[in-house]
Amino acid sequence: MTRLRVAFAGPHVTFQDSGRLGRMRYGVPASGPMDRKAFAIAQSIFANPPDAAAIEVSLGGLSLDCVEGHVTFAVVGGGFIVQIGARRLGAWAVHTLHQGERLVIRPGPWGSWTYLAFAGDLVAPQWLGSSATHGPSGLGGGTLAAGQEVIVQDARVAPTLEGSIPCPIWARPRRVIHAVLGPQDRFFSAESLEDLATQPFHLTNAYDRMGVRLRGPSLTPEGALSIPSEPILRGSVQVAGDGLATVMLADHGTTGGYPKIATVVSDDLDGFVQLRPNDAVRFKLVLAPQAVALARQGDKALRAYLNRPR
């Protein structure tokens, strides 16, 4: 067993597994990692099962003291800075933490989320069979806080895995994201649809695991303020009465009465969440069959990466 103690945790640093699926009908979104590809890569290094937990680190950063034992770990996602004691290392690498050492993860040149995965079984509370944390309620694994102990059972040291791992081009932030119009695009003027497809938008500071509000042209819906609540998905581009668009993310509400002008394709969401507040983003509208093709292309690239010869 390896015992770590949280010396510092910024906001929105949580335990996550690959997600709590199939409970949307009860008001529970999947949650799970914001960047699902980075999470999958991190867990694949140690051949951890899909329901294994890792720690999602936000721009707030995380410091862990190794109180007892030792463990090999990976930090994957974003261009974060990783330090063990005075040794400054990067993300996209595998290292070993020993008793008495402090691991610090903090934001670097790019990215908003990174994943700390362990060679071993990271112990995290579960809710409905998953340790994915639903941020607004705190249900699931939970949010990390200073003073808390983090336990890795059956922790291993795996020197052969140590070293840097390649950061594929598709894991970088995406400034152009594909989206399919709808399902409530009928409530928007031709001008608003044109603005969505052609104008730049910017991420704002109103950015958490539930979603990110965008700054950009006003997309005021017409006569849609009283539509019956409809299901929401990760990637829904919801427009409130003030004309501001919000892209719904991992901890999204499951239903809502604001119209959704478009929905971002799943393959682009991982790169989208690695943008930061004030970064520009553009929507590229595609039809549903093209969106499916993008999903398959993205999946193929991820699988080729995970199966690369090492």
Partner: protein, 219 residues
């Protein structure tokens, strides 16, 4: 006639109407039931709402056209919705923070507000907002009010809240702009592994009144 709207790369929204009605919701539930009995390869989950059913699928396995064909086939067959369960939910109306204000705004006595609330015929239309927040339609017109202009923070679990034609039982400590008219020991988030959510969409709820002493004596 149902409308099939593709969403991104991984979902279809099947729409049975534009305004909330029992008929549209019955069609939503019937398709939901048929789909759960006859899922297709790549089906992930379905989410029922007031007038539409969201069907989420794995785009690596299937696509919108195949899913639409499967759903149309299901919709063509006679759909028999599940027989809903009726749940009895005790409510204590004593010391409810907004009962007097609801009475003032509706021009009723507090007893008349309570009587109206108890007389409602409630049905779960959908879940939303937060885990376990079951939106129950059927609140009588006499106590229909718009939401408060400013939400109240930190409202605990187990509160009976109303707004518009809807009633909810809170399950978590969350903010709400709805009117708090009572509380119940009934927990929609049951904490039980086999039935973590008490109600299914489509279930009926009947409220009955309990005194403060009875409320405190309930488990």
């Amino acid at each position: 006639m149902a409308l099939y709207r593709p969403i991104a790369d991984h979902a279809m929204l099947v729409e049975f109407g534009t305004a909330i009605s029992d008929a549209s919701h019955a069609q939503v539930l019937a398709l939901d039931q048929a789909l759960s009995a006859n899922p297709f390869a790549g089906f992930r989950e379905a989410t029922p709402a007031f007038v539409n059913l969201l069907v989420d699928f794995d785009p690596i396995i299937t696509d919108h056209a195949e899913v639409e064909a499967h759903l149309r086939c299901l919709a063509d067959q006679p759909l028999t919705p599940r027989t809903p369960v009726t749940w009895q939910v005790p409510v204590c109306y004593e010391n409810a923070p907004d009962l007097d204000e609801v009475a003032r705004r509706t021009g009723l006595s507090t007893d008349a507000v309570i009587a109206a609330h108890l007389a409602g015929d409630y049905r779960v239309f959908l879940y939303g907002f937060a885990p376990g927040y079951a939106y129950m339609g059927g609140l009588p017109e006499a106590i229909k009010l718009d939401r408060k202009t400013t939400p109240v923070r930190g409202v605990p679990a187990g509160q009976i809240i109303i707004a518009g034609t809807m009633c909810l039982i809170t399950t978590l400590v969350m903010p709400t702009g709805w009117w708090i008219i009572g509380r119940t020991p009934t927990r929609v988030l049951t904490g039980e592994e086999t039935r973590p959510f008490l109600f299914d969409v489509g279930d009926h709820i009947q409220f009955h009144r309990v005194s403060q002493a009875e409320f405190e004596a309930l488990p």
